[in-house]
């Protein structure tokens, strides 16, 4: 019985952390553009593009 004193609060706490994380993501607008987020994930950002260009140039030269 005594281990339940730790296990149950621990389980509830983990659940609450999950809930809090979900609420935070909801508030910060992460669900407002699901289609856009799917595309943005595969876009190169500026730094990646610069690195890739540098690699190409070094291979060529």
């Amino acid at each position: 019985m005594s281990h339940l004193v730790f296990l149950i609060p621990a389980a509830l706490l983990l659940g609450l952390i999950g809930l809090a994380a979900f609420l935070w993501s909801l508030r910060s607008g992460q669900y407002s553009d699901m289609d856009g987020a799917a595309w943005r994930a595969i876009e190169d950002d500026e730094q990646d593009r610069r690195i890739r260009r540098a690699e190409r140039e070094s291979e060529g030269g």
């Binding site: 019985m1 509830l12 659940g15 609450l16 909801l26 553009d33 856009g36 595309w39 876009e43």
Partner: protein, 784 residues
């Protein structure tokens, strides 16, 4: 941008092409822009634009890059789901036209929309929040319940029940409000809906479990009630997402109707004034390409006016001083000075709105499947539960046990599957329609469309694309056509646009000659001098035969090209049928829908169009009220009518019909009145929508049958008192999963009609304005 040009260009062309022709986009003035913006701290404002052509990752980068590079812009963010662009910019020293210009350069049309409405959807946020809380509670309580089911006893079980109660009571109190509120509202009006038995089951389940827990009883239903709530909230959220998506998509289509106009003040100054502030007698200035804001009379200037959206007539009308114009007409050439005749509240547009509301209220009431199921289902369930209570009480004499079993009946019959049966199917159907470029306004539209047995079509803009096409373009002398195209390029009259397109399609071998002193004569045509080296050069005219030709004795129709008053060529035009129009009519005829054309255009023109399209039934010269009368006559004969139309004059008919479809190029009011809006050019969208609606209907009915089957098994078990919380949890989850899986079948494999359309689409790529439609006819018939 490469993928934009390849994959989605059809959608964009349809949207952009339609817009260019029907509603020449006009950069909004700074006043208008600021009125639609939201001020931010530090002097910047945030403006939202609808950019309908955005559809992929490449578009996001192109649009954000182009707009973000402007010096006055602080930030630009695209929302792909809603096809909107939010721009933060400093208005103090900036010209907002630069934003439009930047988008135009990379090929996107944009128009500002009200930032106030783009604030986000509060109801959805609340539903997702409730869904999150219910999901958290369901997971944790299930964790504890599994221990109880697997044999926890005595004080351990009591402890677990108490912890469950601690989680379940606040969770149900908060997340259950999505059902309690509508249930309470319905009861107060003496009505019944699906929320009433749901709320009752939830509240009773929690109450009886709390009592059991306090009594150290073996069974508590906290897990069942919270899991139930979680499933039901999924259904409710999906339903809401679907409606919201359709609503925001429709809002994105909305172009800036003239919310104001340029008024000429007494001292001659030109000021922009909001629509409501325009009084009868005000002098208005309307440039070429703008819409007439209120019903008005022409004071000065001449020009051609396109009244198609108001009257359904396809030919532009030449107006001069004294002519009356309805609100919404598009000024094609020449600047007009007008005198407002009526205030905006009494304009033709407002008249149509009043007629629309009257038609809406006169329309036969349609009760949604879910409501009908609820009114049939709730009394039975409550009666069974009450009978169980009486039966057990009288037979065994243990009234607490009788109450407990009666409540377990209520819990297990709670319409979990029933509440998911309709929304899940409709969300899947809306998704399918969306992929075919058809927007669905709400679930009720889908349900009524499935029951339609008569179809009425408007002509101009619906069966036809609403813009003229040069007749016999292939047999024209290419050199003369190139010359006509060079002249026509200087006018925005629909005939000129058609000539320019035809000339460009020639890929003219000879370069068109150089022209000097090009001048558009509003109401007549375009004239220019041929730059052939000689002084002055020959006078070329393209336009009305009576104006272009010296010898105007006979009354000739069409557009004449003349040189020094001598006829060079005469061009005639027709309104091109929409792609798939004839095939759609043939399919509907074969399926017994008896399609009929109801048009406001002249009888002769309607007859001609009906002959080209192979339509047997048609009526011409109809006023908006006549269209409603026709619909009501059919409804009176027991038919359910689908109206397909686009004009302002169709809007009352669209709302009078049981179901309605409008193309995206339709007037704003028409689009708002219609249950479905299709974005692509082809009219086969009507067939697709009908097909999907019918399949969705049969899936909904199947789901109801599955839910009934589930209850037929579950109710006897519950009534005989064998339901434990474990049985309840398994039964309810099982039935929900079955219903959801059945709904997803709509995505598996296309229906016969859709397959036929896809085959046809693969064989012949849809060529807008090409006579591909008649060829499609036998194939469709064969498939049907």
């Amino acid at each position: 941008m490469s993928c934009c040009n390849a994959a989605g260009s059809a959608a964009r062309d349809a949207a952009a092409g339609g817009e260019a022709a029907a509603d020449a986009p006009r950069p909004a003035g700074k006043d208008e822009m600021l009125a639609a913006s939201r001020p931010l701290a530090g002097g910047a404002v945030e403006t939202h634009f609808a950019v309908p052509a955005i559809h992929c990752g490449g578009c996001i980068r192109a649009v954000e890059g182009a707009v973000g590079a402007l010096p006055m812009v602080q930030g630009a963010r695209v929302n792909l789901s809603t096809k909107r662009l939010a721009v933060t910019w400093r208005p103090d020293a900036a010209d907002p036209d630069a934003i439009f210009a930047a988008l135009d350069r990379i090929g996107y049309k944009a128009h500002p929309i009200d930032a106030a409405g783009a604030d986000g959807d509060r109801t959805l946020k609340r539903l997702i929040l409730q869904l999150g809380v219910a999901g958290f509670a369901a997971g944790n309580i299930m964790l504890l319940s599994v221990s109880v089911w697997s044999g926890a006893e005595g004080s351990t079980r009591d402890l677990f029940h108490w912890i469950s109660a601690l989680i379940a009571i606040p969770a149900v109190a908060f997340a259950g409000q999505a059902f309690f509120r509508p249930a309470f509202a319905a009861l107060r009006r003496g009505r019944m809906n699906m929320d009433v038995p749901i709320s009752l089951a939830l509240v009773l389940a929690v109450a009886v479990s709390l009592y059991e827990t306090a009594q150290s009883g073996p069974h508590a239903y906290f897990d069942a009630s919270v899991t139930l709530l979680f499933f039901l909230l999924i259904g409710r959220t999906l339903d809401h997402v679907m409606r919201e998506r359709a609503r925001s998509a429709a809002a994105t289509l909305q172009r800036m109707v003239p919310r104001g106009a340029t008024v000429i003040a007494a001292d001659g100054a030109r000021v922009w004034r909001a629509l409501e502030a325009i009084r009868p007698g005000d002098r208005l200035f309307v440039a070429a390409g703008e819409r007439i804001p209120v019903d008005a009379r022409v004071l000065d200037g001449e020009g051609d006016v396109d009244c198609a959206i108001a009257t359904g007539e396809s030919d532009p009308i030449a107006v001069g001083p004294g002519g009356e114009l309805p609100a919404g007409a598009l000024n094609l050439s020449g600047a007009l000075t007008l005198e407002a005749v009526k205030p905006a509240s009494q304009s033709f547009l407002a008249e149509m709105m009043a007629m629309l509301e009257a038609a809406e209220s006169a329309k036969p009431r349609f009760r949604r499947y879910a409501d009908r199921a609820a009114s049939f289902y709730s009394p039975i369930v409550h009666l069974v539960a009450f009978a169980t209570f009486l039966g057990w009480g009288l037979a065994a004499g243990d009234w607490y046990r009788a109450l407990y079993i009666a409540i377990s009946v209520l819990i297990i019959t709670c319409p979990c599957a029933l509440a998911l049966a309709v929304p899940v199917v409709q969300v899947v159907a809306a998704g399918r329609l969306f992929r075919h470029g058809i927007l669905l306004k709400d679930g009720a539209a889908l349900e009524t469309l499935a029951r339609v047995d008569r179809v009425l079509f408007d002509k101009t803009g619906t069966l036809t694309v609403g813009r003229p096409r040069l007749l016999d373009a292939v047999v024209q002398d290419p050199d003369l056509l190139a010359l006509a195209g060079a002249l026509a390029r200087n006018s925005r009259h629909p005939y000129s646009t058609a000539l320019t397109e035809a000339a460009e399609a020639l890929e003219a071998q000879a370069a068109p000659p150089t022209l000097n002193a090009i001048r558009e004569v509003p109401g007549s045509g375009v004239e220019a001098r041929l730059a052939d080296g000689t002084a002055g050069g020959a006078l070329l005219r393209l336009g009305r035969p009576a104006w272009a030709l010296d010898d105007a004795g006979e009354d000739r129709a069409g557009v004449a090209l003349s040189r020094d008053g001598q006829l060079l060529a005469l061009y005639r035009f027709e309104d091109a049928p929409r792609a798939g129009a004839a095939g759609t009519l043939a399919w509907l005829e074969a399926q017994g829908f008896e399609p009929e054309i109801v048009s406001g255009d002249h009888r002769d023109r309607v007859a001609e169009a009906a002959r080209t399209l192979g339509a047997g039934r048609w009526r011409g010269g109809l006023q908006p009220a006549d269209k409603i009368a026709r619909i009501q006559a059919l409804q009176g004969a027991g038919h359910r009518v689908l109206m397909v139309g686009d004009g302002l004059n169709d809007a009352p008919a669209l709302s009078a019909a049981d179901a309605s479809v409008a193309p995206a190029t339709a007037a704003d009011v028409g689009r708002r009145a219609a249950g479905f809006v299709f974005l692509h050019e082809g009219l086969d969208a009507v067939v697709r929508a009908l097909d999907i609606a019918r399949r969705a209907r049969s899936l909904i009915l199947q789901n109801f049958a599955l839910a009934a089957l589930y209850n037929m098994i579950a109710i006897p078990i519950a009534v005989s008192g064998y339901v434990t919380p474990l049985v309840a949890a398994l039964a309810m989850s099982g039935s929900s999963i079955v219903v959801i899986s059945n709904a997803l079948r709509l995505n598996l494999g296309a229906g016969r009609v859709t397959r036929a359309l896809d085959r046809q689409g693969r064989r012949a790529a849809p060529a807008p304005a090409a006579p591909a439609a008649p060829a499609a006819q036998p194939r469709l018939e064969g498939a049907a």
